[in-house]
Symmetry: C3
Subunit: 191 residues, 3 copies
């Protein structure tokens, strides 16, 4: 073997492996992009106290475990984000909808055994007796833990819900905004 042959062989040898390595590195990069991130995305469609509570228990739990959490509130779920009822400047049906909907988290009904609000009061009392955080405490905790709270624009628009009716610190977004998070998530739930 001449010195020249050796060098050629060294290069050929290296090049074959080199090319396969480069292919693997490229593939790994695309795989990494397709992996789920440390992320949990929830849709809160329901405006029932018990379901919204479940959503915030899961959201704060996941955030405490280091996950990026976002909750997308749509339809009746928006009632949990209200702070007061505004009627002026609304169309007739928007007014009716507002009058028949709870004006904030404190007046959400429960999904079962509500009996005109008795069920919700009872559930809140039972939770307090067992030292379980109230919905309002959980919502504050979620914000402190960096949970993103997004109000669905389309639902807001359809129901005519105004900015001044909603609590502060919310993001607004459409379904694309929900999907952007959901498609990269480890877990997605519709509540």
């Amino acid at each position: 073997m001449t010195s020249k042959q050796i060098q050629t062989e060294l290069k050929a040898n290296g090049r074959g492996l080199e090319e396969r390595l480069a292919a693997l590195e490229a593939k790994l990069a695309t795989i990494e992009e397709r992996l789920p991130e440390d992320r949990v995305s929830l849709v809160v469609f329901s405006g029932d106290l018990d379901r919204v509570l479940a959503a915030f228990v899961i959201a704060t739990g996941a955030a405490a475990l280091g996950q990026n959490v976002s909750i997308f509130f749509t339809f009746w779920g928006l009632n949990a984000l209200k702070k007061k009822r505004v009627l002026s400047g609304k169309r007739l049906m928007e007014k009716m909808m507002a009058l028949m909907s709870p004006s904030g988290s404190r007046s959400l009904p429960v999904s079962k055994m509500n009996f005109f609000g008795v069920g919700a009061k009872m559930l809140r009392t039972m939770m307090r007796e067992k030292n379980v955080s109230s919905l309002e405490d959980l919502m504050q905790m979620a914000r402190d833990l960096g949970v993103r709270i997004v109000a669905c624009e389309m639902s807001r628009d359809v129901m005519g819900i105004k900015d001044e009716e909603l609590i502060g610190g919310l993001e607004c977004g459409g379904v694309a905004s929900f999907l952007a998070d959901a498609l990269k998530s480890r877990a997605t739930l519709f509540i």
Copy 2:
């Protein structure tokens, strides 16, 4: 170093790396199979207009983002896929079930404030006023975007729903068909 020694060393060197490369390539192939695909799978269990609307907004949004979307309609969700009511040839309880269920997407109730259909009419009117697509438009859009619409065989069988009661272009499938999609999906929701 003799020429022979060099060749041996070259080969040994190459073989070690070669083997590790081959192992990596094999591992990558199995990893790729375990990655979620660009896929979203929904179960629509509810037959409420508002929930079915939410399902189709998410489904069309995901399909527009390039995801393979399938919706598995089960239990009350099948009401959204009906086009008319058929009673002849049904058992007593199947007839009762048919008579108490909506006979198509246009007669679906809303989950809250339905008041014998007033709520559903109100929601449809409010959506039209804000130029939001109707459920029927969204369903057509979903089909145009290639969303797979699957009717749950077991539910159909239990409720005695006949072929001629359902809209065309549906697939029928069982839970295994839903799971086949769901297990490869980026996001799964039960609505």
Copy 3:
């Protein structure tokens, strides 16, 4: 080229590839940890017969396909895990809650057309006529297939549900226990 030069080059050549290989191997190990496992996690929040049935159909289906399945029962979902009603030793509101809740899977209502239990009876009869497994059969099948059934500790505590009210063979756990499974799952559903 001297023998010394050749050996140096051989080593340098090998080392470059070697380092890139080691980096790839390390990356692959972290990627494998971030991949979803063969796992499905469900939350059963609802205590409606039809929804609990859907949960067990999906759970047994997934288990039959070789997935590790766990179901986390919370709020009204706990009613499906009861075997009898106990009132002694409960606070007033816990007693009221117990009296207004079903005392076991056999008395769960359906979410629509319940009419004081007629709907649930009708659904069970229709299922039997079509040889579809009953809820109790599906629950037994789930256990036989190794589905983990977890009762939510917080809900139990709030509602004052006692050990002797629940069927045997359950695990108890909090939201962290649900999330531990859910974050590694291929599919997650809130039912």
